[in-house]
């Protein structure tokens, strides 16, 4: 299955991920240190993209749980690059938001005080988006 829609194609473009090459071996999920924390598992990222179910991917917890350790990219025997795929989904998620949803640099310390467990990636991403 290889559903094409705008979001799916954007993810393919941004990540360079080749979902059709995946043979569902599971080596990515076997290598992932964050597996237990994720609601959608690395090998499933690929299935979601193949199905074109990008909304679910952008809404999943995993996009904030992935450590970008790239173990899955390193081990994948088919060069599918699951981490780059989920990174692309994270980017799309951020881009989809409207302007007033972004934070200013001044807000960051306050946010951290409020919730020290706030995912670093989230902060980095929204902040990066803001300054661009």
């Amino acid at each position: 299955m290889h559903i094409q829609n705008d979001y799916a194609d954007q993810i393919r473009l941004i990540s360079g991920s080749q979902d059709l090459k995946c043979m569902k071996c599971g080596r990515c999920s076997a290598s992932c240190p964050q597996y237990e924390e994720m609601d959608v598992r690395p090998h499933q990222f690929v299935s979601y993209l193949q199905r074109g179910d990008i909304d679910a991917l952008m809404d999943c917890e995993s996009i904030w749980k992935c450590l970008s350790c790239f173990a899955c990219v390193e081990r994948c025997p088919r060069d599918v690059k699951p981490a780059r795929l989920i990174e692309a989904a994270r980017l799309l998620r951020i881009r989809r938001q409207s302007d007033d949803e972004f934070i200013t640099p001044e807000q960051v310390p306050a946010l951290l005080e409020l919730d020290p467990d706030i995912p670093q990636q989230l902060l980095a991403s929204v902040f990066r988006k803001y300054v661009k």
Binding site: C25, C28, A30, S31, C32, D79
Partner: protein, 660 residues
């Protein structure tokens, strides 16, 4: 002026679907010299060929053009048809309007124009064709098999049984190949040695078979029917004629700690050794790299204990040169290196390859068949098998293909463990279980259903050696669960690849290999045991991953093809070879240097140059050696060399016709 007939084939819709046949026919009629034009749906059919033959006779044609498929496909067919008439078969040309025209074009007008141009070119060429007559070359009734695995041995036995002499060249000290290292074999679980060693003995005692072990191919000359090959018999340091195989030497040898190749490094061997007890020949070799005598000049214990006085430290490599009619490449496979697979912790003694497992479970192996962890010699409580290690993987360290045999041997290994030790827990991680073949899937299902082997769809991501056990992180894809567990022994179903030396062998024999170093067949379906080079045949796993049944069946087919060649008294040679005009040759030696077949030499010859007689050094072509490659033709600075059937005049006429 020639009287030329043109025959345009539709090839069903293959050609007619894209090329306007009527137009090609109409155009051909107006070409100079064309006396007769016809078209037919299938020119190669019986009716089509008869039509060609009839036209040659009725219209007294002196040359014909078949506008149809590639000459590779049917030139021989039509030359045979021409030979049934009074026409010389070399007065025929094919215009390839299928592969090079209809199949590659979509636009009908474009394709039709091109078909016309190609036909025109062939007609122009025929005007310059001359009758050619094939020669004959001898067939040496002897075959050479390179590689003494099960492929080489069974192929040699089949050829020898047909009455031809066969030499086997094997690089290791014994024949037998990988099969000699195996314990039991799928899908029947019969003992590998029990079915292999009788065949090895048959080969040893067959009057038509000569075995050269510890030997390699030094050089190759010649061509189909008439190869001259030099074999280097490496110095064994033991006289084959005197040695009785008593083994006193290796019992006494003080150098005892060399990791043995045959036991995949799990067992140790001495400096003087036979790789295994049933080795053929049962004559040891001295590994000069490790022998004390060779390293320090002292020792010589083996010489002292050898009763028949067979040890010969002075022995030198021996070169044997022999003529052969056919050569069979049967160099087999080997597991890939796992150096770059850090995540599986292969450096741990308790992580082993499948071939190492074969040695470990073998009663004649380094642990006498006892399954232990090499690190602490303890019996494992759980064993984990990982499939597809280095196979189906696009990374540089791996192979993109499926190694084909590992699903089956892993099921075999799992059952062997369970059979001996029902209490050991056995897990197998797989991507797919690929078991097509007679009784193969039933074999795998037995592992699951009768032996309780636990098959897990998923892969292992990481292995860490904790000393007393191995920690693994894996995934069960069907349960969508990550598994973090301990196991005692890990067996990696390692990908197989062709041996490295095959590149060199293929180079010497001008046989081609693919990107994975597997030998290429002349045709994947219709010529599965021939290489594209005449007289060079293929057998066994050097062609691609193969199990034993497939290897033996293939080797039988190879033998049949070789016997077919050796049974001939003479081979018909291609008359399209180099042709010298002695008046132009100035004996510069340029052609000799480029000829890849060594077909050119020089002779002082009397030349009558416009009434003036003179002795000149000119080139002489050996008609048996020349393969018509044309290298000399393009090299000759004086234009003295030409190629019969592809002369400069013919080629120029073709080009002119196309450009017209």
């Amino acid at each position: 002026m020639q009287k030329i007939g043109v025959f345009v084939c539709h090839c069903g819709t293959n050609i007619a679907g894209t090329v306007n046949i009527d137009e090609v026919v109409e155009n051909a009629k107006h070409e100079p010299g064309v006396k007769y034009v016809a078209e037919y749906p299938y020119m190669c059919s019986e009716a089509g060929q008869s039509m060609v033959q009839k036209a040659i006779d009725e219209h007294d044609l002196s040359g014909i053009v078949i506008s149809a498929c590639s000459p590779r496909m049917h030139e021989t067919t039509f030359r045979r048809a021409a030979a049934r008439t009074k026409l010389n078969p070399f007065m025929l040309e094919m215009a390839n309007i299928r592969e090079q025209c209809s199949w590659v074009h979509k636009d009908k007008e474009e394709a039709t124009n091109k078909a016309h141009a190609l036909t025109r070119a062939a007609i122009a060429k025929v005007h310059h064709n001359t009758p050619l007559f094939p020669g004959e070359s001898p067939v040496t009734k002897r075959a050479l098999v390179i590689g003494g695995g099960i492929a080489g041995v069974s192929c040699a036995l089949d050829i020898a049984e047909a009455g031809f002499v066969v030499d086997i060249v094997e690089s290791t000290p014994s024949i037998g190949g990988k099969m000699a290292q195996l314990d039991k074999t799928f899908p029947t679980l019969d003992c590998s040695a029990c079915i292999l060693t009788p065949k090895m003995v048959d080969a040893q005692f067959h009057e038509n078979i000569n075995i050269h072990t510890y030997s390699e191919i030094e050089s190759v000359e010649g061509f189909v029917g008439d190869f001259t090959i030099t074999i280097r018999k490496k110095a064994r340091s033991v006289d084959m004629k005197k040695c009785t195989g008593c083994g006193a030497c290796y019992d006494k040898c003080p150098i005892k700690k060399i990791p043995g190749e045959f036991d995949e490094g799990l067992g140790m061997r001495t400096a003087i050794y036979t790789p295994f007890a049933q080795a053929i020949p049962n004559v040891p070799v001295i590994d000069r790299e490790h022998c004390l005598k060779f390293k320090t000049g002292k020792c010589g214990l083996c010489e002292t204990v050898c009763a028949p006085d067979a040890i010969d430290f002075e022995q030198e490599d021996e070169l044997i040169t022999e003529k052969y009619g056919a050569v069979i490449i049967a160099t087999g496979i080997t597991p890939i290196s796992l150096d770059k697979f850090g995540e599986y912790a292969y450096t741990s003694p308790d992580v082993i390859t499948s071939l190492e497992f074969e040695r470990m479970t073998n009663a004649a192996g380094p642990t006498k068949g006892e399954l232990i962890r090499i690190s602490d010699k303890k019996k494992p409580k759980s064993i984990t098998f990982i499939q597809c290690v280095g196979s189906r993987d696009v990374a540089v360290r791996s192979k993109t293909y499926c190694s084909k045999i590992c699903c089956m041997y892993t099921a075999k290994h799992a059952m062997l463990v369970k059979d001996k030790y029902p209490d050991i827990e056995v897990n197998v991680f797989y991507i797919d279980v690929r078991t097509p073949g007679k009784n193969f899937d039933e074999f795998y299902r037995r592992a699951v259903e009768e032996y309780g082997v636990n098959y897990i769809k998923g892969q292992v991501g990481k292995v860490v050696d904790n000393g007393d056990s191995l920690w693994i992180q894996a995934v069960d894809m069907l349960d969508n669960k990550q598994i973090k567990t301990k196991t005692d022994l890990i067996v990696l179903a390692t990908a197989i690849e062709p041996v490295k030396s095959v590149r060199n062998i293929a180079g010497m024999l001008s046989a081609s290999i693919d990107t994975n170093n597997f030998m290429t067949e002349a045709h994947p379906k219709l010529k599965p045991v021939e290489s594209p080079t005449a007289g060079v045949f293929l057998a066994g796993a050097c062609q691609g991953p193969k199990d034993i049944p497939e290897t033996v069946a293939g080797a039988g087919a190879t033998a049949a093809k070789v016997i077919g060649l050796l049974a001939k008294d003479k081979l018909i040679t291609n008359p399209c070879i180099a042709d010298l005009d002695p008046y132009y040759c100035n004996g510069c030696s340029a052609c000799e240097k480029v000829c890849p077949y060594g077909a050119i030499s020089y002779e002082d010859t009397e030349i009558n140059d416009h009434g003036k007689k003179a002795i000149r050094r000119i080139a002489v072509i050996n008609k048996a050696l020349c393969q018509g490659c044309g290298a000399c033709v393009v090299t000759c600075p004086s234009g003295a060399m030409d190629l019969l059937g592809f002369s400069n005049r013919q080629i120029t006429a073709e080009v002119d016709a196309i450009c017209r």
